[in-house]
C-alpha cells in the first residue's frame, strides 16, 4: 500500500470512527456517518446530519431523477460519491420563491422557465444552487450529496437512528463494505 494513499468514503465502502466517552454523553457529539445515512435513505430524502440553529447539512442519496426544488437563499451541493447531474432553471413565476422562506421547497412538475444550464459533478465537486433558481438532480447510479442549506419543511431529522448513543462505538460499525 502506498503510504500516502488518500482515503475517501463511499456508499460501497466506508469506515466509521466514533466517540469514546470518558466523562460525557456521546449524544452531545451527534456523531454519524453520512455514507451510512445515505445508504439507508430513500432517494432524495433530505436527512440532516448536522444542525446549527436554523442551518443544516443534509446527506442526500441521489438515485434516479429528483423533483424540482427552489430556495430563496444560495445552497451548495457537494458530491461525496458517484456522479450527479445538476439541472438549473430560472422560473418564469418569481412568486414560486417565498421571500424569507427557509430551506428549499418542492415544485410540482417541471416549472416553466428559462434553462440556466447544467453541471455534471463527481466526487469532490461542489456546485452552487443559486437563490431563486429551480434545480433538479439526476444520478444514473446511487450517489451521495452533502447539501449546505437551511432546515426546511422536507428536512428529515432522525438523530436517534443515525447517531451514536452508547459510550463506545459499536464494534461492528468500524468498517462496512457493500
Amino acid at each position: 500500500m502506498a503510504p500516502n494513499r488518500t482515503r475517501f468514503g463511499s456508499l460501497a465502502h466506508f469506515e466509521k470512527g466514533g466517540v469514546e466517552v470518558i466523562k460525557d454523553d456521546a449524544r452531545n457529539y451527534v456523531f454519524s456517518n453520512l455514507f451510512e445515512v445515505a445508504s439507508k435513505a430513500r432517494p432524495y430524502e433530505k436527512v440532516a446530519v448536522g444542525k446549527n440553529i436554523e442551518y443544516v447539512i443534509e446527506a442526500i442519496r441521489a438515485e434516479g431523477t429528483s423533483g424540482w426544488r427552489v430556495a430563496c437563499q444560495d445552497e451548495f451541493a457537494l458530491v461525496m460519491d458517484g456522479e450527479v447531474e445538476v439541472r438549473l432553471l430560472k422560473p418564469d413565476d418569481g412568486s414560486l420563491v417565498p421571500a424569507g422562506g427557509k430551506g428549499s421547497i418542492p415544485l410540482s412538475g417541471s416549472p416553466p422557465g428559462r434553462k440556466m444550464g447544467h453541471v455534471r459533478a463527481r466526487r469532490g465537486h461542489m456546485t452552487l444552487l443559486p437563490a431563486g433558481a429551480a434545480y433538479q438532480f439526476h444520478a444514473g447510479s446511487p450517489s451521495v450529496i452533502l447539501l449546505q442549506t437551511l432546515a426546511g419543511r422536507d428536512t428529515v431529522e432522525r438523530w436517534a437512528e443515525i447517531c451514536q448513543t452508547a459510550p463506545r462505538p459499536k464494534p461492528n460499525s468500524k468498517e462496512v463494505t457493500r
Partner: protein
Amino acid sequence: MTTDTLPELGSIEPNPHGYRDFTLGKFSFGRDEYFVHVRWPNGTHMLAVDAFLRAIQRDVAWGFFYGIVNFDTVIGTVNHYGTVDLFAGRFNAQYRQAGLDYSENFKTDAISRLFEAILADWTNATFDPFASPAETGSAFGPKNGSNKRAITRHRVTAKRMIGAPGDEPVRTDDNGFPINRQFTDVTQDAPEVHAEPGFEDQVVSVNLFAYLSRSDVTWNPSVVSVCKNSLYCPTTEEYILPIIHGNDRVEWFVQLSDEIQWEVEDRDTGAVRARVTMKAGDVAAMPADIRHRGFSPKRSMLLVWENASPELPALYAAGKMPPAPVQF
C-alpha cells in the same frame, strides 16, 4: 477595563540570542534559542518556540477565531469581537485555585499588532509556522533572518463561493499552488459546467477536493461557501492542531478524507471528556462548552462548518442555548 493604547512593539536592542523582547499591558514576551518566556504580574510560563509561533500565527490569521484560542494549557486569548483577552491560567483549574491566573483585555488592533510584530521578529528564515513539521525547517537557534512570505499569506474568505465570478479563485499550478505531496492521488478533474448564454455567472461548480489538495498550509480553516451565516470552512490537517480551541458556540466537523482524532476537554477546567475518532464521511458536533485539539497522522481534509451569527456567544454564555446542538 480595556487597555486601548497601542503596544510598545518591542525592545530596540535585541537580546543575546538576537531577538527583541515585547510587552503588552502587564504581559511581557521574550525568546531564547528554544523557548518563549511569558511573564505577567503574578506568574511566568515557558513554551517551546515552534509551538508558540504556530499558535499565534493561527490566532492572527483567524482574527482570534470563534471563542478561545489556548496556546497550551496556560496561555491564550478570548475573542470578544472588537476586543481580545490575553490570559494566563484562566482556563486552568489549578492556576485559578492557586490565584496565579491573570487576564487583560486589549483592543483587537493592539494585540494583532503585537503578535504580528513577534511573528516578524521571531520567525527565522528556515521556519514556516503554517507548514506541517515535515515541510518546514527549524524554528530554533539564534536569530536567522525572517520569513515574511510565510507569515503574511492571504486568508481565503469567499463572499459567495470559491470559483464564482469576482470571488476567491481556485488553486492551480499557475497561481502558485502545486498539489501537496500527500494528495498526489487526488483526482484533479473539473466538473462539466454547461451554462446557457446569460447565466455564466450563476452556473458555477468547482472541484473542492482538488482545491484542498493544493493547500500549502495546515490547520487553517478558510471560507469556501456562504449560505447566509452558515460558512463552510474546509482545511487540510497534518500532525497536531497548534492550539486548543475553546468553543463559544457549536461548530461541526465533516471528515472529508482520511482520519483525525480529537481530544475533547471541558472548556473551563481542562478535565478530559471524550476522544472522538473521525474517518472519511463521519460527522460530529463540537459542543459550545468544550475545548478540543486534533491529531492527524496523515494529511487529511476536514470540513469545518461554522455558524457566524454574531449573537450566538452571548446566548450560549447566558445559558439561553443548550451547549449541544441537538437534543434526542
